[in-house]
Protein backbone atom coordinates (compact mmCIF):
# COMPACT_ATOMS: atom_id res chain seq x y z
CA UNK A 1 0.00 0.00 0.00
CA UNK A 2 2.78 2.41 0.94
CA UNK A 3 5.98 2.05 -1.04
CA UNK A 4 9.12 4.02 -0.29
CA UNK A 5 11.57 3.86 -3.16
CA UNK A 6 15.20 4.92 -2.95
CA UNK A 7 14.55 8.14 -1.02
CA UNK A 8 17.48 10.53 -0.77
CA UNK A 9 17.52 13.79 1.19
CA UNK A 10 20.24 16.28 2.02
CA UNK A 11 20.25 19.49 4.02
CA UNK A 12 23.07 21.50 2.48
CA UNK A 13 26.13 19.28 2.62
CA UNK A 14 24.60 16.95 5.15
CA UNK A 15 23.17 13.85 3.53
CA UNK A 16 20.45 12.68 5.89
CA UNK A 17 18.81 9.92 3.85
CA UNK A 18 20.99 7.85 1.55
CA UNK A 19 18.56 5.69 -0.36
CA UNK A 20 15.72 4.32 1.77
CA UNK A 21 13.34 1.70 0.35
CA UNK A 22 10.63 -0.39 1.98
CA UNK A 23 6.96 -1.19 1.71
CA UNK A 24 4.14 -1.37 4.21
CA UNK A 25 1.07 -3.49 3.52
CA UNK A 26 -2.43 -2.77 4.80
CA UNK A 27 -2.86 -3.58 8.48
CA UNK A 28 0.86 -3.86 9.00
CA UNK A 29 2.85 -2.20 11.78
CA UNK A 30 6.33 -1.13 10.78
CA UNK A 31 8.65 -0.05 13.58
CA UNK A 32 11.71 2.01 12.73
CA UNK A 33 14.49 2.12 15.27
CA UNK A 34 17.92 3.65 15.25
CA UNK A 35 20.15 6.14 17.03
CA UNK A 36 19.16 9.80 17.30
CA UNK A 37 20.02 11.84 14.25
CA UNK A 38 20.00 8.89 11.86
CA UNK A 39 17.27 10.46 9.74
CA UNK A 40 14.13 8.79 11.08
CA UNK A 41 12.13 11.98 11.57
CA UNK A 42 13.21 13.33 8.20
CA UNK A 43 12.13 10.07 6.62
CA UNK A 44 8.63 10.41 8.05
CA UNK A 45 8.40 13.99 6.77
CA UNK A 46 9.47 12.79 3.35
CA UNK A 47 6.86 10.03 3.39
CA UNK A 48 3.90 12.37 3.83
CA UNK A 49 5.53 14.97 1.63
CA UNK A 50 5.80 17.94 3.97
CA UNK A 51 9.51 17.69 3.18
CA UNK A 52 10.69 17.29 -0.40
CA UNK A 53 12.93 14.42 -1.43
CA UNK A 54 16.03 15.01 -3.54
CA UNK A 55 15.72 11.68 -5.29
CA UNK A 56 13.41 8.67 -5.14
CA UNK A 57 9.68 8.54 -4.71
CA UNK A 58 6.99 7.48 -2.25
CA UNK A 59 3.80 5.83 -3.48
CA UNK A 60 0.55 5.67 -1.56
CA UNK A 61 -1.69 3.09 -3.20
CA UNK A 62 0.25 3.58 -6.39
CA UNK A 63 -0.01 7.38 -6.41
CA UNK A 64 3.23 9.36 -6.21
CA UNK A 65 3.51 11.55 -3.10
CA UNK A 66 6.11 13.92 -4.51
CA UNK A 67 5.10 15.98 -7.52
CA UNK A 68 7.40 18.07 -9.63
CA UNK A 69 7.58 21.75 -8.78
CA UNK A 70 5.42 21.48 -5.66
CA UNK A 71 6.68 22.35 -2.21
CA UNK A 72 4.29 19.97 -0.48
CA UNK A 73 2.54 16.84 -1.63
CA UNK A 74 -1.10 17.33 -2.66
CA UNK A 75 -3.62 17.70 0.14
CA UNK A 76 -5.41 14.56 -1.05
CA UNK A 77 -2.25 12.56 -0.25
CA UNK A 78 -1.34 14.32 2.99
CA UNK A 79 -4.75 13.81 4.55
CA UNK A 80 -4.45 10.07 4.00
CA UNK A 81 -1.17 9.86 5.92
CA UNK A 82 -1.73 10.75 9.56
CA UNK A 83 1.10 11.99 11.72
CA UNK A 84 1.65 11.98 15.47
CA UNK A 85 4.54 14.12 16.67
CA UNK A 86 7.03 13.75 19.49
CA UNK A 87 5.97 17.09 20.95
CA UNK A 88 2.24 16.56 20.26
CA UNK A 89 1.82 19.79 18.28
CA UNK A 90 -1.76 20.18 19.42
CA UNK A 91 -3.35 23.44 18.32
CA UNK A 92 -3.18 25.39 21.55
CA UNK A 93 -6.00 27.79 20.73
CA UNK A 94 -8.52 24.96 20.32
CA UNK A 95 -10.07 22.55 22.80
CA UNK A 96 -9.36 18.82 22.55
CA UNK A 97 -12.55 18.44 20.54
CA UNK A 98 -11.65 21.46 18.42
CA UNK A 99 -8.31 19.86 17.61
CA UNK A 100 -9.94 16.62 16.52
CA UNK A 101 -12.68 18.34 14.52
CA UNK A 102 -10.58 20.97 12.70
CA UNK A 103 -9.25 18.73 9.92
CA UNK A 104 -12.59 17.09 9.11
CA UNK A 105 -14.29 20.50 8.99
CA UNK A 106 -11.70 22.42 6.98
CA UNK A 107 -10.23 19.69 4.82
CA UNK A 108 -12.97 17.12 4.39
CA UNK A 109 -15.81 19.62 4.46
CA UNK A 110 -17.85 17.96 7.19
CA UNK A 111 -20.37 20.07 9.07
CA UNK A 112 -19.30 21.16 12.54
CA UNK A 113 -21.97 18.96 14.06
CA UNK A 114 -20.88 15.83 12.18
CA UNK A 115 -17.21 16.50 12.88
CA UNK A 116 -17.81 17.04 16.59
CA UNK A 117 -19.98 13.98 16.90
CA UNK A 118 -17.28 11.85 15.39
CA UNK A 119 -14.64 13.76 17.34
CA UNK A 120 -16.32 12.79 20.60
CA UNK A 121 -16.38 9.15 19.52
CA UNK A 122 -12.67 9.27 18.78
CA UNK A 123 -11.86 10.99 22.07
CA UNK A 124 -13.86 8.29 23.84
CA UNK A 125 -11.87 5.68 21.96
CA UNK A 126 -8.60 7.08 23.36
CA UNK A 127 -10.18 7.30 26.82
CA UNK A 128 -10.66 11.06 26.91
CA UNK A 129 -14.42 11.52 26.50
CA UNK A 130 -14.46 13.74 29.58
CA UNK A 131 -11.68 16.03 28.32
CA UNK A 132 -13.35 17.18 25.11
CA UNK A 133 -13.74 20.77 26.27
CA UNK A 134 -10.29 21.14 27.84
CA UNK A 135 -7.54 23.14 26.18
CA UNK A 136 -4.15 21.50 25.56
CA UNK A 137 -2.58 23.60 28.33
CA UNK A 138 -4.97 21.91 30.76
CA UNK A 139 -4.00 18.36 29.76
CA UNK A 140 -1.11 16.11 30.83
CA UNK A 141 1.47 15.00 28.29
CA UNK A 142 -0.07 11.56 27.92
CA UNK A 143 -3.51 13.06 27.44
CA UNK A 144 -2.17 15.49 24.85
CA UNK A 145 -0.62 12.68 22.87
CA UNK A 146 -3.85 10.69 22.96
CA UNK A 147 -5.74 13.73 21.65
CA UNK A 148 -3.10 13.99 18.91
CA UNK A 149 -3.73 10.35 17.98
CA UNK A 150 -7.48 11.00 17.86
CA UNK A 151 -6.83 14.06 15.70
CA UNK A 152 -4.86 11.95 13.21
CA UNK A 153 -7.55 9.22 13.24
CA UNK A 154 -10.25 11.80 12.52
CA UNK A 155 -9.05 12.09 8.93
CA UNK A 156 -9.54 8.35 8.38
CA UNK A 157 -6.00 8.04 7.10
CA UNK A 158 -4.73 4.98 5.25
CA UNK A 159 -1.66 4.93 7.46
CA UNK A 160 -0.61 6.74 10.64
CA UNK A 161 3.00 7.65 11.32
CA UNK A 162 4.28 8.11 14.86
CA UNK A 163 7.46 10.11 15.40
CA UNK A 164 8.80 9.04 18.80
CA UNK A 165 5.36 9.48 20.35
CA UNK A 166 6.48 8.70 23.89
CA UNK A 167 9.91 10.34 23.99
CA UNK A 168 8.65 13.60 25.45
CA UNK A 169 6.48 11.94 28.09
CA UNK A 170 6.99 11.38 31.78
CA UNK A 171 7.56 7.65 32.42
CA UNK A 172 4.20 7.12 34.10
CA UNK A 173 2.39 8.39 31.02
CA UNK A 174 4.10 6.25 28.43
CA UNK A 175 1.90 3.24 29.00
CA UNK A 176 -1.41 5.03 28.38
CA UNK A 177 -0.17 6.16 24.98
CA UNK A 178 1.33 2.78 24.05
CA UNK A 179 -1.93 1.07 25.08
CA UNK A 180 -3.88 3.27 22.67
CA UNK A 181 -1.37 2.48 19.92
CA UNK A 182 -1.62 -1.25 20.62
CA UNK A 183 -5.41 -1.01 20.36
CA UNK A 184 -5.08 0.65 16.98
CA UNK A 185 -2.66 -2.02 15.79
CA UNK A 186 -5.05 -4.74 16.91
CA UNK A 187 -7.88 -3.07 15.03
CA UNK A 188 -5.83 -3.31 11.87
CA UNK A 189 -4.70 0.31 11.52
CA UNK A 190 -1.63 0.52 9.31
CA UNK A 191 1.17 2.16 11.25
CA UNK A 192 4.74 3.35 10.87
CA UNK A 193 6.24 3.92 14.30
CA UNK A 194 9.59 5.50 15.08
CA UNK A 195 10.28 4.61 18.69
CA UNK A 196 12.77 3.52 21.30
CA UNK A 197 10.13 1.44 23.10
CA UNK A 198 11.49 -2.02 22.45
CA UNK A 199 8.71 -3.73 24.38
CA UNK A 200 6.20 -2.17 22.02
CA UNK A 201 8.26 -3.13 18.98
CA UNK A 202 8.56 -6.73 20.12
CA UNK A 203 4.86 -7.05 20.87
CA UNK A 204 3.24 -5.14 18.04
CA UNK A 205 5.60 -4.85 15.09
CA UNK A 206 5.20 -6.95 11.98
CA UNK A 207 8.44 -5.63 10.56
CA UNK A 208 11.30 -3.79 12.20
CA UNK A 209 13.77 -1.62 10.35
CA UNK A 210 17.04 -0.54 11.89
CA UNK A 211 18.39 2.70 10.47
CA UNK A 212 21.80 4.20 10.95
CA UNK A 213 23.47 7.11 9.23
CA UNK A 214 20.72 7.54 6.63
CA UNK A 215 20.62 3.89 5.56
CA UNK A 216 18.62 0.82 6.45
CA UNK A 217 21.14 -1.49 8.07
CA UNK A 218 18.86 -4.38 8.89
CA UNK A 219 15.23 -5.40 8.60
CA UNK A 220 13.15 -8.31 9.75
CA UNK A 221 10.54 -9.68 12.10
CA UNK A 222 10.73 -8.92 15.84
CA UNK A 223 11.93 -12.49 16.50
CA UNK A 224 14.75 -12.05 14.04
CA UNK A 225 15.61 -8.70 15.47
CA UNK A 226 15.73 -9.41 19.15
CA UNK A 227 17.13 -12.95 18.95
CA UNK A 228 19.14 -13.10 15.81
CA UNK A 229 20.29 -9.66 14.65
CA UNK A 230 23.03 -10.06 12.09
CA UNK A 231 24.69 -6.71 11.66
CA UNK A 232 27.19 -5.63 14.34
CA UNK A 233 25.73 -2.09 14.40
CA UNK A 234 22.29 -3.51 15.17
CA UNK A 235 23.67 -5.71 17.94
CA UNK A 236 25.60 -2.80 19.40
CA UNK A 237 22.52 -0.54 19.35
CA UNK A 238 20.31 -3.22 20.90
CA UNK A 239 22.83 -3.98 23.61
CA UNK A 240 22.84 -0.30 24.56
CA UNK A 241 19.11 0.14 24.51
CA UNK A 242 18.04 -3.15 26.13
CA UNK A 243 18.91 -3.44 29.77
Amino acid sequence: MLVVEDVHKSFGDLEVLKGISFRVDPGEVLVIIGPSGCGKSTLLRCINGIERVDRGQVYLEGKPVHRKGQLYSPSSIRQQIGMVFQHFELFNHLTALGNVALGPIRVRGLSRQEAEERGRELLARVGLADKADQYPAELSGGQKQRVAIARAMAMDPKVIMFDEPTSALDPEMIKEVLDVMKDLAREGVTMIVVTHEMGFAREVADQIIFMDDGRIIERGSPEHFFNNAQHPRTREFLSKILY
Binding site: S75, S76, R78, L90, G103, Y135
Partner: protein, 218 residues
Protein backbone atom coordinates in the same frame (compact mmCIF):
# COMPACT_ATOMS: atom_id res chain seq x y z
CA UNK B 1 -4.32 80.10 35.72
CA UNK B 2 -7.85 79.89 34.55
CA UNK B 3 -9.11 76.30 34.36
CA UNK B 4 -12.52 77.47 33.20
CA UNK B 5 -11.19 77.96 29.66
CA UNK B 6 -11.38 74.17 29.22
CA UNK B 7 -15.12 74.35 29.87
CA UNK B 8 -15.69 77.50 27.89
CA UNK B 9 -13.96 76.05 24.85
CA UNK B 10 -15.35 72.54 25.35
CA UNK B 11 -16.92 72.51 21.90
CA UNK B 12 -13.50 73.10 20.28
CA UNK B 13 -11.86 70.40 22.39
CA UNK B 14 -14.67 67.90 21.78
CA UNK B 15 -14.43 68.51 18.07
CA UNK B 16 -10.66 67.93 18.31
CA UNK B 17 -11.26 64.74 20.28
CA UNK B 18 -13.65 63.56 17.60
CA UNK B 19 -11.10 64.20 14.84
CA UNK B 20 -8.27 62.52 16.76
CA UNK B 21 -10.50 59.54 17.44
CA UNK B 22 -11.59 59.34 13.82
CA UNK B 23 -8.04 59.59 12.46
CA UNK B 24 -6.72 57.08 15.00
CA UNK B 25 -9.40 54.45 14.53
CA UNK B 26 -9.18 54.52 10.74
CA UNK B 27 -5.36 54.52 10.87
CA UNK B 28 -5.38 51.57 13.30
CA UNK B 29 -7.59 49.56 10.96
CA UNK B 30 -5.45 50.43 7.93
CA UNK B 31 -2.19 49.79 9.81
CA UNK B 32 -3.47 46.36 10.87
CA UNK B 33 -4.27 45.46 7.28
CA UNK B 34 -0.98 46.84 5.92
CA UNK B 35 1.02 45.31 8.75
CA UNK B 36 -0.51 41.84 8.39
CA UNK B 37 0.00 41.79 4.62
CA UNK B 38 3.54 43.13 4.79
CA UNK B 39 4.38 40.82 7.71
CA UNK B 40 3.23 37.83 5.64
CA UNK B 41 5.17 39.12 2.62
CA UNK B 42 8.27 39.38 4.81
CA UNK B 43 7.99 35.61 5.42
CA UNK B 44 7.40 34.78 1.75
CA UNK B 45 9.80 32.41 0.08
CA UNK B 46 9.66 34.69 -2.96
CA UNK B 47 12.80 36.84 -2.61
CA UNK B 48 11.29 39.78 -4.52
CA UNK B 49 8.19 39.92 -2.31
CA UNK B 50 10.07 39.58 0.97
CA UNK B 51 12.69 42.03 -0.32
CA UNK B 52 10.11 44.69 -1.12
CA UNK B 53 8.51 44.23 2.28
CA UNK B 54 11.93 44.61 3.89
CA UNK B 55 12.66 47.82 1.98
CA UNK B 56 9.29 49.31 2.99
CA UNK B 57 9.83 48.45 6.65
CA UNK B 58 13.38 49.81 6.74
CA UNK B 59 12.61 53.09 4.94
CA UNK B 60 9.55 53.86 7.02
CA UNK B 61 11.08 52.91 10.35
CA UNK B 62 14.24 54.92 9.74
CA UNK B 63 12.72 58.25 8.73
CA UNK B 64 10.74 60.67 10.92
CA UNK B 65 6.96 60.45 10.82
CA UNK B 66 6.59 64.22 10.49
CA UNK B 67 8.77 64.23 7.37
CA UNK B 68 6.77 61.31 5.95
CA UNK B 69 3.55 63.22 6.54
CA UNK B 70 5.02 66.29 4.81
CA UNK B 71 6.12 64.16 1.84
CA UNK B 72 2.61 62.77 1.48
CA UNK B 73 0.70 65.97 2.16
CA UNK B 74 2.88 68.72 0.67
CA UNK B 75 5.11 66.63 -1.59
CA UNK B 76 2.59 64.40 -3.28
CA UNK B 77 0.07 67.19 -2.81
CA UNK B 78 2.05 69.09 -5.44
CA UNK B 79 0.87 66.60 -8.04
CA UNK B 80 -2.44 65.43 -6.65
CA UNK B 81 -5.03 67.77 -5.30
CA UNK B 82 -6.29 66.49 -1.93
CA UNK B 83 -9.90 67.41 -1.27
CA UNK B 84 -9.46 67.05 2.51
CA UNK B 85 -6.57 66.72 4.93
CA UNK B 86 -8.13 63.62 6.45
CA UNK B 87 -6.99 60.93 4.01
CA UNK B 88 -3.38 61.96 3.42
CA UNK B 89 -2.91 62.37 7.17
CA UNK B 90 -4.60 59.09 8.10
CA UNK B 91 -2.94 57.07 5.38
CA UNK B 92 0.42 58.57 6.34
CA UNK B 93 -0.06 57.50 9.94
CA UNK B 94 -1.17 54.04 8.81
CA UNK B 95 1.83 53.57 6.53
CA UNK B 96 4.09 54.55 9.41
CA UNK B 97 2.46 52.34 12.05
CA UNK B 98 2.01 49.54 9.49
CA UNK B 99 5.76 49.04 9.25
CA UNK B 100 5.97 48.42 12.98
CA UNK B 101 2.88 46.21 12.92
CA UNK B 102 4.50 44.20 10.11
CA UNK B 103 7.50 43.40 12.28
CA UNK B 104 5.24 42.50 15.21
CA UNK B 105 3.17 40.21 12.97
CA UNK B 106 6.27 38.59 11.50
CA UNK B 107 7.76 37.92 14.94
CA UNK B 108 4.39 36.63 16.15
CA UNK B 109 4.07 34.17 13.29
CA UNK B 110 7.64 33.00 13.73
CA UNK B 111 7.08 32.47 17.44
CA UNK B 112 4.36 29.94 16.61
CA UNK B 113 6.57 26.93 16.24
CA UNK B 114 7.16 25.29 12.89
CA UNK B 115 5.69 22.10 14.29
CA UNK B 116 2.23 23.70 14.35
CA UNK B 117 2.47 24.35 10.63
CA UNK B 118 3.63 20.78 10.03
CA UNK B 119 0.78 19.39 12.12
CA UNK B 120 -1.73 21.42 10.09
CA UNK B 121 -0.13 20.32 6.82
CA UNK B 122 -0.23 16.68 7.82
CA UNK B 123 -3.98 16.97 8.30
CA UNK B 124 -4.10 17.85 4.62
CA UNK B 125 -4.47 21.62 4.96
CA UNK B 126 -2.75 23.79 2.40
CA UNK B 127 -0.42 26.62 3.42
CA UNK B 128 -3.20 29.22 3.43
CA UNK B 129 -5.53 27.14 5.57
CA UNK B 130 -2.72 26.29 7.99
CA UNK B 131 -1.95 30.00 8.34
CA UNK B 132 -5.57 30.99 8.71
CA UNK B 133 -6.85 28.32 11.07
CA UNK B 134 -3.75 27.35 13.03
CA UNK B 135 -0.86 29.82 12.92
CA UNK B 136 -2.51 33.25 12.79
CA UNK B 137 -5.02 32.65 15.62
CA UNK B 138 -2.15 31.66 17.89
CA UNK B 139 0.11 34.44 16.65
CA UNK B 140 -2.72 36.91 17.34
CA UNK B 141 -2.75 36.01 21.03
CA UNK B 142 0.98 36.58 21.28
CA UNK B 143 1.09 39.85 19.37
CA UNK B 144 -1.84 41.43 21.17
CA UNK B 145 0.28 43.11 23.90
CA UNK B 146 2.96 44.59 21.56
CA UNK B 147 0.23 45.53 19.11
CA UNK B 148 -1.63 47.45 21.81
CA UNK B 149 1.58 49.33 22.60
CA UNK B 150 1.98 50.18 18.94
CA UNK B 151 -1.57 51.49 18.67
CA UNK B 152 -1.12 53.62 21.78
CA UNK B 153 1.91 55.14 20.06
CA UNK B 154 -0.21 55.72 16.98
CA UNK B 155 -2.80 57.67 18.96
CA UNK B 156 -0.07 59.85 20.46
CA UNK B 157 1.69 60.27 17.10
CA UNK B 158 -1.60 61.40 15.59
CA UNK B 159 -0.94 64.77 17.27
CA UNK B 160 1.43 65.42 14.35
CA UNK B 161 -1.48 65.61 11.92
CA UNK B 162 -2.24 69.01 13.45
CA UNK B 163 0.64 70.23 11.27
CA UNK B 164 -1.46 69.25 8.25
CA UNK B 165 -4.19 71.62 9.36
CA UNK B 166 -6.34 68.80 10.68
CA UNK B 167 -8.37 70.14 13.60
CA UNK B 168 -7.45 67.40 16.08
CA UNK B 169 -6.90 67.79 19.84
CA UNK B 170 -3.47 69.36 19.45
CA UNK B 171 -4.75 71.74 16.82
CA UNK B 172 -7.65 72.71 19.09
CA UNK B 173 -5.21 73.35 21.91
CA UNK B 174 -3.10 75.67 19.76
CA UNK B 175 -6.17 77.56 18.70
CA UNK B 176 -7.51 77.99 22.22
CA UNK B 177 -4.08 79.03 23.52
CA UNK B 178 -3.86 81.69 20.84
CA UNK B 179 -7.05 83.30 21.99
CA UNK B 180 -6.74 82.80 25.78
CA UNK B 181 -2.95 82.72 26.44
CA UNK B 182 -3.64 79.92 28.96
CA UNK B 183 -0.99 77.58 27.50
CA UNK B 184 -0.44 75.53 30.67
CA UNK B 185 -4.09 74.83 31.34
CA UNK B 186 -4.89 74.16 27.71
CA UNK B 187 -2.03 71.74 27.01
CA UNK B 188 -2.54 69.86 30.27
CA UNK B 189 -6.17 69.55 29.23
CA UNK B 190 -5.12 68.30 25.80
CA UNK B 191 -2.78 65.74 27.36
CA UNK B 192 -5.64 64.55 29.52
CA UNK B 193 -7.83 63.97 26.44
CA UNK B 194 -5.07 61.86 24.83
CA UNK B 195 -4.72 59.97 28.08
CA UNK B 196 -8.43 59.13 28.08
CA UNK B 197 -8.08 57.66 24.58
CA UNK B 198 -4.94 55.60 25.24
CA UNK B 199 -6.16 54.38 28.64
CA UNK B 200 -9.44 53.24 27.08
CA UNK B 201 -7.51 51.32 24.43
CA UNK B 202 -5.37 49.63 27.11
CA UNK B 203 -8.49 48.63 29.00
CA UNK B 204 -10.10 47.25 25.87
CA UNK B 205 -6.98 45.24 24.99
CA UNK B 206 -6.80 43.91 28.54
CA UNK B 207 -10.38 42.73 28.19
CA UNK B 208 -9.66 40.86 24.96
CA UNK B 209 -6.48 39.38 26.45
CA UNK B 210 -8.33 38.01 29.44
CA UNK B 211 -10.95 36.57 27.15
CA UNK B 212 -8.42 34.52 25.19
CA UNK B 213 -6.20 33.81 28.21
CA UNK B 214 -7.54 30.33 28.92
CA UNK B 215 -6.17 28.79 25.77
CA UNK B 216 -3.12 31.04 25.57
CA UNK B 217 -1.41 29.35 28.52
CA UNK B 218 1.17 27.01 27.10
Amino acid sequence: MDWSVLWRYRAVFLHGLKITLHVSVVAIVLATIIGTLVGLCRLSRNKLISGLAYVYIEIIRNTPLLVQLFVIYFGIGQFIHYKTEFWPATVGLAIFAGSYVAEIVRAGIQSVARGQMEAALSLGMDYRQAMRYVVLPQAFRRILPPLTGQFISLIKDSSLVSFLALTDITHAARKVTASTFQAFVVYVGAAFLYFILTASLSQLAGLVERKVARSARS
